[in-house]
């Protein structure tokens, strides 16, 4: 149980804005505003569905708070499957270049352990279609963007933007040769992303099927990630969403062990 247990939900919370727009920069900035909810909590259910229909499930509670324009705190408490029940992950993310701080609480050993996500074991997170690397926000300074097209997709007028790593090191680190993202023209909300493998073949599709809308904020509440090569699928559903302010003490090791 040394491997970092991380929520798929993290992707929904942490996916870096990768688009451009009216100009690329404008789309990215607008998308960032739609997803930067000051306080957010919810219950996440992740269904992992294999090609033969075998289904597994992960359940977690998640809390997020933007402390200021330089810090974002997140807390995840896992409730299912039973072997990870009570496991907690606390993340203090810094948006000014400092390393993230992460602590994991493992109830079987009753210990809070400082970890680095990069030392999480890599690979697919808890058997899902998200890699551990997918869960880390991309540094936009390391990425290149290009507006490919403006088209209507499933009745939605969209900007289509390609992004890729600035150099081979970043590309290798990402695990994808490039990604193509779809942003709604009306509000710059990203609702689809396609991931291409090192041979530039389509590998995975990230699709948002539902949003929770509160004022200017659009938060994804149903996400499907499909690996088109293996036909494995992960479906995230978020319920009991609240945007009420969350006390600072939630994002401490005390709360990590208490909940």
């Amino acid at each position: 149980m040394k491997k970092i247990l991380f929520a798929l939900i993290f992707l929904a919370l942490a996916t870096a804005p990768l688009s451009a727009g009216k100009t690329v920069e404008e789309i990215l900035a607008e998308f960032d505003k739609t997803i930067s909810v000051p306080s957010l909590q919810g219950t996440f259910t992740v269904k992992l569905i294999s090609k033969n229909g075998d289904t597994r499930e992960i359940k977690a509670r998640a809390y997020q708070k933007l402390v200021d324009n330089k810090q974002n705190n997140r807390l995840f408490i896992f409730d299912f499957p039973p072997r990870v029940r009570g496991t907690g992950l606390l993340v203090h993310s810094f948006l000014d270049g400092r390393d993230n701080n992460m602590w994991i609480y493992l109830p079987t050993v009753k210990r809070v352990k400082r970890i680095a996500l990069e030392s999480s074991g890599g690979g697919y997170f808890m058997g899902s279609d998200f890699t551990y690397r997918d869960l880390i926000a991309n540094d936009l300074n390391n990425m290149k963007f290009e507006l490919l097209d403006e088209k209507t997709m499933n009745g939605i007028e969209s900007y289509v933007i390609k992004c890729w790593g600035k150099n081979q090191t970043v590309i290798k680190d990402l695990g994808y040769s490039y990604m193509i993202s779809y942003y709604k023209k009306e509000n710059s909300v990203m609702y689809r992303r396609e991931f291409f493998d090192s041979d530039s073949k389509l590998l995975k599709v990230y699709q948002v099927d539902n949003f929770h809308v509160s004022g200017r904020y659009h938060y994804p509440t149903k996400i499907t990630m499909t690996n088109v090569q293996t036909e494995h699928k992960s479906i995230i559903e978020v319920t009991e969403i609240s945007t009420k302010d969350i006390p600072e003490r939630y994002f401490t090791t005390r709360y990590l062990t208490d909940k």
Binding site: S119, G127, T253
Partner: protein, 430 residues
């Protein structure tokens, strides 16, 4: 007057009853059960059935939201379904059972609970509270490790990052050693274990722990004055010709420690430093534990091919290691010293050993492979491969081997006489 009192009492009882039902109580149930089997595969001794277990651990918890308090009760039960009938020691049936009350600045806990200190996952020198099972067949057996003690605990949170914790354990238990007395071949003495369920002659243990989880470093400081669960032994007569019973005796010990954990690049590093001061600081008693300085260094890193690895390096220095009194029979004294030094994990004045843990998942984490390796700067390299397969979200199959290269140590008092073994375990968890 009497009537008014009755009315007052009635109203109070009513309000107590309805008040209590107004508490929002969140009930929680956990249940883990398994059946397992251990077989001995020590080459020099041939195959043998070592043990089997049918194990149950139910746990009930209640969270009283209105009063910020929590009640936890859990028990352990096991029986041996294969081979000679055997059952859990009745004193091991109660697992954790405690009540906690939380306020803005304080947590108070009363009951039987496990307490963990330090950052090291294995061989942590801060892990002084609680007795443990010492004669384990698997060193990582999570179901028969440390045993909780009755305690009173007060935690103070002066800031969001700092925790000051005081723990008082009124009475603790001796370590659980192998079931039979041990005959020492060269001196014809017999080592007798304690049958006492609790160490009532050695009451009172105190721990003071400070923790800080900061941006760049996590820090812990510890002071403990406590009953040591591993016994010293009384050897009044050192002789190769006469046989004696050697009995255990338990003493208090001081531990002073400091530890930190930090991120170094893409790895995490932690170090626990501890000074342990025993009753026999001068080292005169050959069967007593020596005082020591222990440093545990732990590195967590990700290797290529998504292999998670953790490295633990432990160094110990024992004060006055060979200063024991040899009396008139130096040969017998050296034999006994070798036995008890090995029992106390202090075979030399300096010891250094290394444990590596490697872990990789397959089949989308349904199959997990692990390898633990111990290198004790001797030919006896320890390897313990593990495989765990999740059949469903609530059931899994585990298997593993404990294997030490070379012959078992020629020490009468060694804790695991069966040495190499394998196990297979089927677990259900809700």
């Amino acid at each position: 007057m009497q009537s008014r009192f009755k009315t007052y009492l009635f109203i109070n009882l009513l309000s107590l009853f309805f008040g209590s039902t107004c508490f929002a109580v969140e009930h929680g149930f956990k249940f883990i059960s398994f059946v397992d089997y251990y077989g001995g595969i020590e080459y020099s001794e041939g195959y043998e059935n070592l043990r089997s277990r049918l194990f149950f651990r139910p746990e009930y918890s209640a969270n009283f939201d209105n009063s910020n308090s929590e009640l936890v009760i859990s028990t352990n039960l096991w029986a041996q379904p294969v081979g000679d009938p055997n059952f859990i020691d009745p004193y091991d049936i109660p697992n954790e059972a405690y009540f906690s009350k939380k306020t803005e600045l304080f947590d108070i806990t009363v009951g039987q609970k496990l307490v963990t200190y330090g950052f090291a996952d294995i061989y942590g020198p801060f892990n002084a509270p609680h007795s443990s099972h010492q004669a384990l067949l698997s060193l990582d057996d999570q179901f028969e490790g440390r045993r909780p003690d009755p305690l009173f605990q007060l935690r103070f949170y002066p800031t969001l990052e700092d925790i000051l914790e005081f723990t008082y354990i009124p009475v603790t238990r001796p370590d659980k050693e192998q079931p039979d007395d041990v005959y020492l071949s060269e001196t014809q003495d017999t080592v007798i274990w304690s049958n006492d369920p609790y160490l009532t002659d050695n009451l009172h243990s105190f721990f003071l722990n400070y923790k800080r989880y900061g941006e760049n470093f996590d820090i812990q400081l510890l002071y403990g004055w406590y009953t040591e669960h591993t016994p010293d032994f009384i050897v009044n007569n050192i002789s190769s010709s006469d046989s004696y019973d050697i009995k255990p005796e338990y003493h208090h010990k001081h531990t002073i420690g400091a530890a930190y954990a930090t991120r170094v690049g893409n790895t995490t590093l932690s170090q626990d430093f501890a000074l342990n001061i025993t009753k026999d600081f001068s080292g005169k008693d050959l069967a007593a534990q020596d005082s020591d300085i222990t440093v545990n260094t732990q590195i967590l890193a990700n290797l290529p091919w998504d292999i998670l690895s953790q490295y633990t390096i432990v160094y110990c220095y024992f004060f006055n290691h060979d200063e024991y009194d040899r009396q008139s029979d130096s040969r017998a004294a050296e034999y006994l010293a070798e036995q008890f030094h090995d029992f106390h994990n202090q075979p030399y004045q300096h010891i250094l050993f290394f444990v590596g843990h490697f872990e990789k998942s397959f089949l989308r984490e349904k199959l997990k492979a692990q390898l633990n390796m111990g290198f004790f700067f001797s030919p006896n390299i320890y390897v313990a491969p593990r495989l765990a397969y999740s059949i469903t979200d609530t059931s899994r199959l585990e298997t593993g081997i404990e294997y030490t290269f070379g012959k078992p140590k020629d020490i009468d008092l060694r804790r695991n006489p069966s040495n190499d073994n394998f196990f297979i375990r089927f677990i259900m968890q809700y």
